[in-house]
C-alpha cells in the first residue's frame, strides 16, 4: 500500500508549489488514473511515489510518502524502484540498451536476480506482453506502441507490486492506446499489480480504471470512481478535463428526466441506455 500524507513539493528555482498538501492512500491491487491540466503536478506526483522525489530531484519536500509502511525518504530510491516501477513520459530517453532483450536484462542484472532465474523471467514477460518476436530487435526501429510494451516488460521483469506510467499513450493511435490499457488491465486483474497511470484520454480512463484522481494546481481536486466523477461533469470542465461524449449525453438525459438510470461511461453502456429509453 502507498500512503501519501501532507505531501508538498517545490522545485528548486521555482516559487510555485508543484504539489500542495496531498493526502491519499492507494491500496494494493488498485487501478488509478491520474488526470488534470498541464502543469497540474501529475508527473511530479508520480516521482514522489518511489522516492525519485526527494532523492533524485532537488527541491523542498514536505510531508511523507510510505510504501508498505517504509518512508521513501529514508532508504535509497533504488530499493523502492523495484517495488514501484515507473515508465517515464519520454519513452526513447529512458531506454538504456539498443536491443530489446538487453533492455529487459538491465534491471535484472543490476538488482542481482539469480542468473538461473533471469532467463525464465525474460521469457515470461515477453510472453505476457505478447512481444516474443521482438526479443532480438533493435529498439530504435520499433513503433511507439512496441516501445511502450518493451518499457512495461522491463519493469515487469523486476516483479514490482506497483507500475506507474506517465502518459504512455500520448503519441499512440487509438488502437495501440487501447491495447496498452488492455495489457495493464490484465496485469492488474491476473497478477494483482497496482497500476497508476497518468493519462489525458478520458474515454480510456472511464472504461478501464477503478479510481480517478484529478489534480489541479498541485492539489487533489477529485478522488473517486469514474462513475462518481462523471456524475459531476460540470465541475471538471473548468479544471481542463472533459468527460466522454456518451457521459455528457447521459447526464443531459437524466437532467431532462428522459432517463432515470446512472450516467454512462462507455458506448456499450450508452447503447443499453438508449435501448431502455426506446422500449
Amino acid at each position: 500500500m502507498i500512503s501519501v500524507k501532507n505531501l508538498g513539493f517545490v522545485y528548486k528555482d521555482s516559487k510555485v508549489a508543484a504539489l500542495d498538501d496531498i493526502n491519499i492512500e492507494i491500496a494494493d491491487g488498485d487501478f488509478v488514473g491520474i488526470t488534470g491540466a498541464s502543469g497540474a503536478g501529475k508527473t511530479t506526483f508520480t516521482f514522489a511515489l518511489n522516492g525519485i522525489i526527494p532523492q533524485k530531484i532537488k527541491g523542498d519536500f514536505y510531508g511523507a510518502v510510505t510504501i508498505d509502511g517504509v518512508d521513501t525518504a529514508e532508504h535509497p530510491a533504488e530499493e523502492f524502484a523495484r517495488k514501484v516501477g515507473e515508465v517515464f513520459q519520454d519513452i526513447d530517453s529512458q531506454m538504456v540498451a539498443s536491443v530489446v532483450e538487453d533492455e529487459i536484462l538491465f534491471g535484472l542484472e543490476n538488482f542481482g536476480v539469480p542468473h538461473e532465474e533471469v532467463g525464465v523471467r525474460i521469457d515470461r514477460v515477453l510472453r505476457e506482453l505478447g512481444i516474443e518476436d521482438l526479443r532480438d530487435r533493435e529498439i530504435e526501429g520499433l513503433s511507439g506502441g512496441q516501445k511502450q510494451k518493451v518499457a512495461i516488460a522491463s519493469m515487469l521483469a523486476l516483479e514490482p507490486e506497483v507500475i506507474v506510467l506517465d502518459e504512455p499513450t500520448g503519441e499512440l493511435d487509438p488502437e495501440s492506446s487501447r491495447e496498452i490499457f488492455k495489457i495493464l488491465t490484465a496485469l492488474n486483474k491476473e497478477k494483482g499489480i497496482t497500476v497508476i497511470i497518468v493519462e489525458q484520454k478520458i474515454m480510456l480512463l472511464c472504461e478501464y480504471v477503478k479510481h480517478m484522481m484529478v489534480l489541479d494546481k498541485g492539489k487533489i481536486a477529485f478522488y473517486g470512481t469514474p462513475r462518481d466523477m462523471a456524475a459531476s461533469i460540470d465541475t471538471f470542465k473548468d479544471l481542463g478535463i472533459n468527460v466522454p461524449r456518451v457521459t455528457e449525453l447521459s447526464a443531459d438525459l437524466i437532467r431532462e428526466k428522459i432517463y432515470d438510470g446512472e450516467v454512462t461511461l462507455t458506448v456499450d453502456d450508452a447503447e443499453k441506455m438508449v435501448r431502455r429509453i426506446l422500449k
Binding site: S93, A97, S98, V118
Partner: protein, 257 residues
C-alpha cells in the same frame, strides 16, 4: 545507409568474443601503422575487405574504404606539400611544388590511415555495443560506469541526429532559408538551432540517467552481467595470427632492401 550500425550475422567474425574483436581490430591497425611499404599497405586494405566479405560485409567494407579515402586524400595533400625529401617532381616558375620523397610519404601515410582505421570501423558492423561493453566489464573488469557512458553516447547519436533533423524541418517550415548556397549564411542560420537541440538533449540525458539509476545502475558490479563471454579456440587463433602479423611486419622492416 548508416555505415556504423550493427549487421546481425553468424559468421566466424561475428562469433568471436567482443574483446577479441576489439583487440584484433587494434592489432591489425598497429601492424598497418608499423608497415612502411606502400604495396604492403595497399595489401592490408584489400585483405581487410576480403576478411569482411567472409562476414557478408563486402559492400560495407568497400563503402567505408571509399569514405576513409576522403580522410586519406586530405592527409595525402598535406604530406605532399610539406615533405621536401628527394628530388623535385613538379616545379612551376622556379618554385618546387612537390618532391619524389613527398609523393612517396604522402601515398604511404594516406594508405596507412585507411588501413589502420578500416578494421575499427568494421568492428561496429560485427559487434553490438552492449556486448562490447558487457564483455569489457566481465572479462577485463573495466568499471561499468565508463562502459555504460560510452555505449550510451553511441546510442544517442542517431536519436540526436533525428532530433536535429526535425528541428531543422521546424525552422524551414518557418521560412528560414536553409537552401542558401552561401556557407557562412548557412552557418549563421544553423546557430540558433543549437538552442532547441541543447534544451532537448539536456532533458533526454536527465531522463536517461534517472531511468538507469532507478533500475539499479549504482548496484551493478562486474559480476552482474547475465551473458557470459567465454574465450574459445577461435579467439586464441585470431590473436595468434595477429601477433604473427605484427612480428612479421617488424621483421620485414629490419631486413635491408
Amino acid at each position: 545507409m548508416n555505415l556504423l550500425n550493427y549487421v546481425p550475422g553468424d559468421s566466424f567474425l561475428h562469433r568471436l568474443n567482443p574483446v577479441t574483436k576489439l583487440a584484433a581490430a587494434f592489432m591489425y591497425g598497429i601492424a598497418a601503422i608499423l608497415c612502411e611499404n606502400v604495396f604492403a599497405e595497399a595489401l592490408f586494405i584489400v585483405v581487410m575487405i576480403l576478411i569482411s566479405a567472409t562476414a557478408g560485409l563486402f559492400k560495407r567494407a568497400v563503402l567505408l574504404t571509399g569514405n576513409l579515402m576522403i580522410l586519406g586524400l586530405i592527409m595525402f595533400v598535406i604530406q605532399l606539400l610539406f615533405v621536401r625529401d628527394g628530388s623535385p617532381l613538379l616545379v612551376i616558375g622556379g618554385v618546387v611544388l612537390f618532391t619524389t620523397g613527398g609523393l612517396k610519404s604522402a601515398l604511404l601515410l594516406s594508405l596507412r590511415v585507411i588501413a589502420a582505421m578500416l578494421p575499427l570501423m568494421l568492428l561496429f558492423a560485427i559487434t553490438r555495443m552492449n556486448d562490447l561493453c558487457n564483455a569489457l566489464v566481465k572479462r577485463l573488469h573495466l568499471p561499468y560506469r565508463y562502459a555504460f557512458i560510452v555505449t550510451t553516447a553511441f546510442r544517442f547519436v542517431p536519436i540526436f541526429a533525428t532530433e536535429f533533423h526535425d528541428i531543422q524541418d521546424a525552422q524551414k517550415a518557418r521560412g528560414v532559408d536553409f537552401d542558401t548556397r552561401n556557407i557562412f549564411r548557412k552557418l549563421g542560420l544553423i546557430a540558433p538551432l543549437c538552442v532547441p537541440l541543447l534544451v532537448s538533449s539536456l532533458k533526454k540525458v536527465d531522463v536517461s540517467a534517472m531511468s538507469a539509476e532507478m533500475r539499479g545502475f549504482e548496484l551493478r558490479g562486474y559480476k552482474s552481467g547475465y551473458k557470459e563471454y567465454p574465450f574459445a579456440a577461435r579467439d586464441m587463433v585470431t590473436v595468434l595470427v595477429l601477433v604473427v602479423l605484427i612480428v612479421a611486419t617488424v621483421v620485414l622492416k629490419t631486413i635491408p632492401k
